[in-house]
């Protein structure tokens, strides 16, 4: 259900009063139609840490290809998603395996992000309904709370996500993920906003699981290219196995 409210957001002007428009704007900024990113992922706990580098290519909601660039142990491991079909490719063994779409739920390489987060299988705009919540001031900044609830027919991992959206640039600064029992399970924060190809983009994403406050995973976007012209066969099994 659409909720209209006077809510000024300079970036999209009058459309900011429509929660659907606001959600669509934020997703378009962050996700774009076609993007290619160089990502560094840091998994941190008090006792150990781990760093991975990834290239992530995404086209719309249906196509994604990720390639691990380091460390050596996983280098070259690729994951292709076409709609709900997923394949992993291990170039050293020349092995392509079809994996269950339920693997979208699993942790990505031991991090606090899931395959779904990395392969961008779900879309906030398409898979959720949206409604405005309270106005919030945090650290001197004004935010609007937006509640996203999973649509009945959507196959998403999180039934409810509460976003804290900046009134200044209309981009989310926090996502709070809730499970079916309405328990808060993890918080994703966005910071260090930069501009890439005309898109405002948070380059630092920090995921904090709520069942283990000593652990967190940070993603740093080193480079993001939007409106990339991928080759016709980029999101195909032929390209997946050409590494």
């Amino acid at each position: 259900m659409k909720t209209k409210e006077l809510f000024f957001c300079a970036a999209i002007g009058v459309n900011a009063s429509q929660v659907d428009e606001l959600t669509k704007y934020a997703e378009t900024q962050i996700r774009g139609d076609r993007s290619s990113s160089k990502i560094q992922m840091n998994i941190e706990t008090p006792n150990w840490s781990r760093t991975l580098e990834i290239t992530s290519d995404v086209e719309g909601k249906d196509f994604a290809l990720s390639t691990i660039d380091s460390p050596a142990k996983e280098k070259g491991t690729r994951t292709l998603r076409i709609k709900n079909n997923m394949w992993n490719y291990f170039p050293k063994l020349k092995k392509k395996i079809s994996v269950s779409s339920s693997m979208l739920l699993s942790s990505w390489m031991g991090s606090d992000f899931t395959n779904d987060d990395i392969l961008k299988a779900s879309s906030m705009n398409e898979d959720y309904t949206h409604s405005f919540g309270a106005d919030i001031v945090k650290d001197g900044n004004d935010y609007k709370m937006i509640e996203h609830k999973a649509r009945e027919n959507s196959k998403v991992m999180w039934p409810k996500i509460v976003a804290l959206t900046s009134k200044q640039d209309c981009l989310p600064r926090e996502y709070h993920y809730y499970d079916k029992k309405n328990n808060l399970k993890r918080i994703l924060t966005f910071s260090e906003i930069k501009t890439f190809d005309g898109h405002l983009f948070p380059t630092k994403w920090t995921m904090m699981p709520q069942n283990d406050h000593k652990k967190m995973t940070t993603i740093i976007y080193k480079d993001v290219k939007f409106n990339v012209s991928f080759k016709k066969d980029h999101f195909t099994q032929k390209n997946l196995t050409d590494y």
Binding site: K73, N84, K92, K96, S100, S102, L105, K238
Partner: protein, 395 residues
Amino acid sequence: MKIFVIVILLSSSALAQVKGSLSGNVEMQGRQVNNSDEAKNEFAQDWDKEEFYLYQGNLNGKLEFKDSKIQSNLFVRHAKSDLLKKKEPIPYLAPGIYSFPKKMVSRDVFKLVHTDTGRSSETEYIITNLSYEWNYDNRFAMGRLNINYGLGEIFNPLNPFNQPTGLTTLNQVSQGADGFNTTFFVNDKHTLNFYILGDKTQDGYDGQIQKTLWIHGEYEFTEKLQFDYVAGEDQNRHKLGSQIKYNFDSSMMFVQVLYQTDFTDDKPSHPLWDAMIGYDQQLNSKWHLRFEGGYQKMNRYMTESSFSERFLPAEYFIAIANQYEIHPLIKITGTVFTDVKDGFTYILNRNTFSIANNIEADIFGSIPMVKSSSNDNPAQKIITTDIGISLRAFF
């Protein structure tokens, strides 16, 4: 002078387009193995408890040009144990299981294998991959190839060129096969592979290379339903098979069937057929479940020395493999395998610890809980009880 400069410029431009890379891994593994009464009494395996050490590694090389690449892999394996000492008339059979797959080149024409045998050790230097690949609209490859397809992890009869390693403690292992492969990407839904392979190792080379002519196709009926088919002649048998995979919303199910005729020459044989059903589901973010069950027709003409040709020491089997991530750096895998006909039951546990970005360790154990009293499947009798540790590094 001008010509010389042009040649230099062209050469440097061509070289700039060439990318090369080296990578690999090394592994040390030690295990204590305990023999069973059945192996002692029925197969003259006269030992109780031994130690077995395995050092192995891969060195991968890759040179990429514009549309083509040359790839290679050198696999080195050094095994050390008193069980490797020569013994007549029946050799010690257990090492064949610990270093499974023993035969690293499944269809061998070019030798590219060197073995040094010591008094109680064995070192193998094997090129498991040396291939040229040309990627145009389709793909052509020749040389020593790694052929990997099929969803089975414990039993994967659809692919006779690479044995599944789900029940072993080894990973990063892939068998080679000599020949040619052309892959046609017919359309978004259909991929067709043609293989022409050779083999001169089946029963010793007698001047006649056995040919393999093989088709493997993948066809996607719908987003959820995929069909694989294989057909051809391989190791003097005609073979025909298929795999059907169905994706449910949160799981995957697959079925494989492979039929093999008797030998095309006059050697004594009978037809073989294998079937399996598999199920795979990520139950939550930490727990992964796999089920495989099936039937493998026993080969009445199989000898002790050919145990490894058909790996599973069972006729009717059910296997359940659970993998649980108790910590981002620790994964526990437990596999229970049982032959529902004769009761043979085997348990394998493997705990993998990520020690650093490129180093991991395994602690593993395997126990044959029940062995059949019948002699229908003699391979069961030689399986030992093991506990071991391995350390693996990648570069």
